[in-house]
Amino acid sequence: MAHLTDEIASVLREEISRFQSGIDVREVGRVLEVGDGIARVWGLSGVMAGEMVEFPGGITGLAFNLEENSVGVIILGDYLKVTEGDEVKSTGRLLSVPVGDAVIGRVLDPLGNPLDGKGPVVSELRRPVETLAPGVAERSPVREPLQTGIKAVDAMTPIGRGQRELIIGDRKTGKTAIGIDAIINQKNSGVKCFYVAVGQKDSSVAVAIDTLRKYGAMDYTTVIVAGASVAAPLQYIAPYSGTAMAEHFMVNGQHALIVYDDLSKQATAYRQLSLLMRRPPGREAYPGDVFYAHSRLLERSAKLSKELGGGSLTSLPIIETLEGEVSAYIPTNVISITDGQIYLQPDLFFAGQRPAMNAGISVSRVGGAAQTKAMKKVAGGLRLDLASFRELEAFAQLGTDLDAATQQRLDRGYRMVELLKQGQFAPMDVVDQVLSIYAGTRGHLDEVKRDEVADWEKGFLTFVRDQVPELRKRVDESKELDAESERQLEAAIAEYKRQRAAHAGGGKQLAGAR
C-alpha cells in the first residue's frame, strides 16, 4: 500500500510542477433551449457552420444553423445532460473520428467510441467526418470487380470497385443479407469492410454482428452503430463517419467496401433534425437539401487514379421502400445518385427465389466493365433473358398451348431461376459461378428436373474440384474462358452427366435388388 501512495504522490507532484496557468482562450455561448437532440445557443458569434462545439461534461455538438441572433446546435451525445443556461464552447475544429487499422474489427458509435467493451480505440490518426469527394481528375474509371459471391448479383448486376450499387426493396426481402454476404465474401480479397447500421433495431444489429463474427468477417470489418434508440443527430452523422473511416483505406491505396443500412432511416433522422431546427419542409416534409445529404455522401465512394494510389471505396447503400413504391422521394433520389440498383421483391422472396432480385429492373451502370472476361462470356444476355422469361411465364400461366420453342425457353428460364437461388452466408467463388452459369445458359440443365438443379450444381462443382482441377485452375488464373477451356468444360460436363446417370441408375438397380 505504501508503494501505491508513493506512486500516486509522485504522479501528483509531477503534474503540479507542470501546472502553469496558461491563458485559456475560448469563445462561448449560452444554451437558450434544449430538447430532442438539438439546442439553441445565444452567443458563439464567431462559430462556423459545421464546427464542433463543446457542452459541459465533454458532450459534443455540431453548429447546424447559424441565425441572426442564435446558433442551432445538434447534440451528439446525451442531450438530457445539457440544461438551459449551460456554457457552450466553440472548438475551432471540425468533427472527426479515429481511423486506421485500430478501428478494424470493432463495433463503434458514430463518434468512434467503442460499443463492444474491448477498450478504447487507440489511434493517432483522425479524419474529418465531412470531407469533399474526390474530383474528376483524381478518379479513374471503375474496372476491377468487387465479387459479392452472390451468383445473381455477380452475373447480372456486377459491381466494380468504386461503384455505388443501391440495394432497394420492401421490408423483409433480404436487403441486409446481400450486404452481409458481400462482406463475408471479402474474406481473402483484402477489402476492408464497414457496416453502418442506422436506425436499426439493436437486436437486428446484434444478429448481424454475430453473423459476421461467426463467418470470420469481423477480422476485417468495422461496424458503426446508431440504433433506433439513439438521438437523431447521431443517426444523421453515422454514414458520414463510417465513410470517413473507410476513406482512410481508399486514400492509402487500399480497397474498402461500405454498406449503409439503411439510408431511408438516415433521411428520416435528418428530416427530424431539420424540422426541429425549423428549416422549411419540402416534399414528404423532407428538407430541401436531403438530396445533397445523400449525394455528397455517396459521391465519396470512388476509384482513385493511379497517381493517388489507385485505392477504391465501393458502397452498397440500402433503401427500404413501402409497398414497392420506388417513386417515393428518397428512393428516386438515391436511385438517381447511384450507379445502379438491385431491386428485391417480396413476391419473389415468398416464392422461394432468394435472393429475391427482380432481374428486369435491376441494373448496374458501370459494373459491366468490371466483370471478368469469363463471367462476361457466360452471363452476357442472362439478365435480359431472365426478364423476358418472367414475361413469358406470366403469359404461360393463362394456360394457352405453347409451341416447342416457347416451351423450351420457359424450361430454360425455370432452370436458370433455380440455378440463381443461393443460400444465405454461402458466398460462391467466381470460378464456381462461371462454371455453373455456363452449364445453365448453354442448356446442360434443360433435362434436369427443376427440384434437382441445386443438387446437380453442387455435385458438378464438387466433380470439377475433385476430378478436373486443372480446368478450374486454368479459368481461375486466366479469368477467361477461351476455346480450349470451353472444350474441356464441355467434356467435363459430359463426363459428370455420365457419372451422375450411372450413379442414379446404379442406385435404382441396388434399390430394385433389395
Binding site: V11, I23, D24, E27, L32, W42, S45, G46
Partner: protein, 208 residues
C-alpha cells in the same frame, strides 16, 4: 463603469424581444445623433429603466400593461419626462408607448448601449475576479487588456469567488481565462487522462 448586469448576461435571453429592441435602439441612436445628443439620450433612458423603474415597480407594470391605453401612457410620460429630459428622449418614449413596446424599455436600453459602443469602436468587457479590486488595480488591468487586444474597452467588474484566483476576461463572446479554477479543472482532466492511459497500457501495478 456601470455595474448593472444587462439582460443577456444575467442569463435571460429572449431572442424575439432582442430583435425588436435592436430596431428601436437603432432608431433612437440615429435620432440622438441627428439631434447631437446621443450620449445624453441613452443616459436618460438608462436612468429611467435602471434607477427609476426598479424603485416604483407599479410604474413598470403600468408601462408593460396593454390595458393602459397609449394615450394614458403618453400623459404619464409627459408628466414624468416633460422638461426634465431631452426632447429626443421624450419622443423616444412616446414612440415606444404608441407601439406598445414601453414594457421592453430595459431591453431597448441594453441594445442601444451595445450599439453605441459598437459605433464608437468600444467593446464591452467583463472582468471577473475572486476578490474585489481597488480602482488602481482596475485601471491597470483595463489598460493592459486594451493594449493586449488593441481595442477600446467598456469594462465591468464582477466578483465571483468560484474562480478561486486569477482573472477571467470576457470580451464579446470570447473568454480569456487565467483563473485558478480552470487551471485546476485542466489539471484534473490531465491526471484522469494520464491514469486512463496508464491503466490501458498496464503501466500501473497497483494490485500488488
Amino acid at each position: 463603469m456601470t455595474t448593472s448586469a444587462t439582460n443577456a448576461e444575467s442569463g435571460h435571453v429572449d431572442i424575439a424581444a432582442d430583435r425588436v429592441a435592436k430596431i428601436y435602439a437603432q432608431a433612437i441612436i440615429e435620432a440622438g445623433e441627428a439631434a447631437g445628443c446621443r450620449p445624453e439620450v441613452i443616459a436618460e433612458l438608462a436612468t429611467l429603466a435602471r434607477d427609476v423603474l426598479p424603485k416604483v415597480p407599479e410604474a413598470a407594470t403600468v408601462f408593460a400593461s396593454p390595458k393602459v391605453t397609449p394615450e394614458e401612457k403618453d400623459r404619464i410620460i409627459d408628466r414624468v419626462a416633460g422638461g426634465r429630459m431631452k426632447p429626443t428622449t421624450t419622443n423616444a418614449l412616446h414612440v415606444l408607448a404608441r407601439h406598445g413596446r414601453l414594457g421592453m424599455l430595459g431591453a431597448v436600453v441594453d441594445a442601444a448601449e451595445r450599439l453605441a459602443d459598437e459605433r464608437d469602436g468600444r467593446q464591452q468587457a467583463v472582468f471577473t475576479t475572486a476578490i474585489p479590486l481597488d480602482s488602481a488595480e482596475q485601471a491597470r488591468i483595463v489598460a493592459d487588456t486594451e493594449k493586449a487586444l488593441s481595442a477600446t474597452l467598456k469594462p465591468r467588474f464582477v466578483v465571483d469567488p468560484a474562480v478561486i484566483g486569477g482573472l477571467v476576461v470576457r470580451v464579446g463572446d470570447t473568454i480569456y481565462d487565467q483563473s485558478v479554477a480552470t487551471g485546476l479543472a485542466r489539471l484534473g482532466g490531465r491526471l484522469q487522462q494520464r491514469n486512463i492511459h496508464a491503466i490501458q497500457t498496464g503501466e500501473y501495478s497497483w494490485h500488488t
